[in-house]
């Protein structure tokens, strides 16, 4: 991705660079179980929610994180906005390392990174009015012109006229309106970077289009960099410039959205894309069905984590050697794949 210069060309760094991000959760954290472990000399168990994720995000770019539930995409998203402290790895925002940032840098980051959550019924405090919900981030960061900004953000989120919504409580709003309020809250600080975690999956299908077009407009007008997290590939195809497919805490395939959707190469990506329903009953296509269950996130499978369910299993190498995410000689696009099926093209990106 080195050819994609940032628009002003001034800074070399991408907006966000994630390197080897890991997040492990200890299974039994209680006092008694840790005492038991200590006396019996056992190691603590960890859930490997995110296990070495790397990517870069340019200004104004949209990246989709896809994968089945439990693959670590939400944990990745939460780590990106520093809701989790990563176990290992680096997250750089405008060249500044978030894991070692001081208070001032963190404050700067908090102003510029926001998150939109899945469930609009849970993401707004039931005891706060719309006005207070939107005013909160502004008050935290001591930003002036509170009312005018709130009015503008609500207008942008197509809640018209904004003054009518000021004193409403979340329970007085519909699901679509709530999600618009949540989006307005994310935008009121004028951020550079937004993580949208399944932004429309809890909404009625009839409301989705409206909220999605709002998010498209927001990406464009704010020149936002957005990480969309979803299991819905057709949504991601519509919204994202690039896609990263995750499986068990790792990215297995990454590249331009059209390349990946039209021509998936990793066996897991293929099965995911095949699972997307096609509205035309006459379209015949090769079905690749996934056998078995997702592997154990505590006792991670050796080698390629997908080897137990893979339809293209090619022998011992899949079980012994973990494939790295890299450019492959077979493809001339930007795609990176983590699979032994393809030959590494030597020069690593």
């Amino acid at each position: 991705m080195s050819d994609a210069e940032s628009p002003d060309g001034a800074d070399e760094n991408p907006l966000l660079r994630v390197e080897g991000l890991q997040k492990h959760f200890q299974v039994d954290e209680g006092l008694i179980s840790s005492l038991l472990r200590a006396t019996m000399g056992k190691e603590a168990d960890y859930v490997h929610a995110v296990d070495g994720v790397s990517f870069e995000l340019e200004r104004g770019e949209t990246l989709g994180l896809a994968g089945e539930s439990g693959c670590g995409k939400t944990t990745t998203g939460m780590s990106l906005v520093k809701l989790h402290e990563p176990t290992d790895g680096r997250i750089e925002f405008r060249g500044m390392d978030l894991t070692e940032s001081n208070d001032e840098e963190l404050d700067e980051f908090r102003r510029n990174a926001q998150m939109i959550f899945q469930d609009p019924f849970e993401s707004l405090n039931p005891r706060m009015t719309v006005y207070d919900t939107l005013a909160e981030p502004l008050r935290i960061h001591d930003i002036e012109n509170e009312t005018a900004r709130i009015r503008r953000a609500l207008e942008f989120a197509e809640l018209q006229p904004p003054d009518q919504y000021f004193d409403q409580y979340p329970h007085e709003l519909s699901g679509g309106q709530r999600q618009r309020v949540a989006i307005a809250r994310a935008l009121v600080l004028d951020p550079d970077f937004v993580v949208a975690d399944e932004p429309v999956s809890m909404l009625d299908v009839s409301l989705r289009a409206g909220v999605l077009s709002l998010m498209e407009r927001m990406t464009e007008e704010f020149n936002l960099s957005v990480v969309y997290i979803s299991h819905d590939l057709s949504l991601l195809r519509h919204m994202c410039d690039r896609l990263a497919i995750m499986y068990m805490g790792e990215i297995v395939e990454k590249g331009a959205t059209e390349d990946i959707i039209e021509n998936p190469q990793h066996p897991y990506t293929r099965s995911l894309i095949n699972a997307v329903p096609v509205p035309d009953p006459d379209v015949g296509r090769e079905r690749v069905e996934l056998a078995g269950e997702v592997g154990d996130a505590i006792d991670v499978p050796s080698g390629c984590r997908f080897h137990g369910r893979c339809s293209e299993y090619i022998g011992d190498i899949c079980e012994t050697e973990s494939p790295s995410l890299e450019r492959k000689a077979e493809f001339d696009d930007d795609r990176e794949v983590a699979c032994h099926l393809y030959d590494s093209c030597g020069e690593r990106s």
Partner: protein
């Protein structure tokens, strides 16, 4: 920095192009109005129930009595109305005048020569003082500890909850006996013991609420926006557990009055203060029951019953607001 190099819908606002002054919302006036709306709504819901209304009237009545006790009571609660031969206490009482007895005392007198009606009036002071102070502290300490434990979790939670567990192992009466033995018998020491043992259940319930609240996305959203821990606890957690601490406060009134009466009844009360519990205790000491002096012990019993039941009814009514499933 953020606004210089990219398009922003807020650009003209930051440049001051929009006329601000007359458009802005006055924060204080707005907050006041919202608070008033919330309170009137809750008040309407609470007073919707006839039982709750009656309970409130009862409590209000006793409050008025407590406040105006010196004007209502004809005598001092611990002033002897008559002396026996040679000035010693006599075991002799006057019967109540409202039973058309030949007596100037509305509810008669005790064997010690005290006016029962005056004692009853002054006793409401002790009862309401204990009830309200215990309620405020029970709800206050319990909520603070519960929120802290629930929000921070980990070692802080462990430590605070082990203290709560320890307090759960302490029985009320022995604690009072030890406190009274150490600090001397007074109403405040009884109150101290009651508060010490009562905040534990509030703390536990509030903690469990805080545990589930802190995982809710609106708390995450505040964290992403950079809110401090105190900001999240005071703005996001506290308002959502407030109805629950209110509920526990209302129940605490009743429990504290009962506990004070019980402790006084077994003779650990403050000898210089009259409470309904100490009235019962002295009536027992002088075997009022055996002599048929029912006017001595029935009125304080009724008063305790009325206030305690009212406290529970208000708590119950509030519970129906906080937990609509009970309706």
């Amino acid at each position: 920095m953020a606004t210089q190099d990219k398009p922003s819908i807020f650009a003209d606002i930051d440049d001051g192009d929009v006329d601000q002054e007359d458009e802005s919302v006055d924060r204080w006036r707005r907050n006041l109005r919202l608070w008033r709306e919330t309170l009137t709504e809750q008040w309407r819901m609470l007073t919707d129930d006839l039982m709750v209304r009656l309970a409130m009237i009862t409590i209000a009545f006793f409050m008025a009595v407590a406040v105006f006790a010196p004007f209502i009571a004809p005598h001092g609660p611990l002033t002897r109305q008559y002396e026996g031969d040679a000035g010693i206490i006599i075991v002799d009482w006057a019967e109540p005048s409202f039973m058309s007895a030949e007596s100037e005392y509305l509810l008669g007198t005790t064997a010690e020569g005290f006016d029962i009606f005056s004692q009853l009036v002054y006793g409401s002071r002790a009862a309401l003082l204990v009830g309200l102070v215990a309620a405020v502290f029970t709800a206050g300490i319990g909520t603070l500890v519960g929120l802290t434990a629930g929000y921070y979790g980990g070692k802080i939670d462990d430590t605070l909850m082990r203290i709560v567990d320890f307090l759960y192992g302490m029985p009320l009466l022995p604690t009072v006996i030890i406190l009274v033995a150490l600090l001397g018998p007074s109403l405040w020491n009884i109150l101290l013991a009651i508060i010490l043992l009562q905040w534990r259940s509030t703390a536990r319930v509030i903690r469990s609420q805080a545990l589930s609240l802190r995982e809710r996305p609106f708390v995450k959203a505040a964290q992403v926006a950079g809110a401090s821990d105190w900001h999240i606890i005071s703005r996001h957690l506290a308002p959502n557990v407030l109805p629950l601490s209110f509920l526990y406060g209302a129940f605490a009134i009743a429990w504290a009055i009962l506990a004070e009466a019980g402790v006084s009844f077994i003779g650990l009360g403050d000898p210089n203060t009259v409470s309904w519990g100490t009235m019962l205790q002295s009536s027992r000491a002088y075997s009022a029951l055996d002599f048929g002096a029912w006017w001595w012990f029935i009125p304080p019993g009724i008063c305790i019953g009325l206030v305690v039941i009212s406290g529970f009814l208000i708590g119950r009514g509030y519970e129906e607001i906080t937990n609509p499933e009970l309706r």
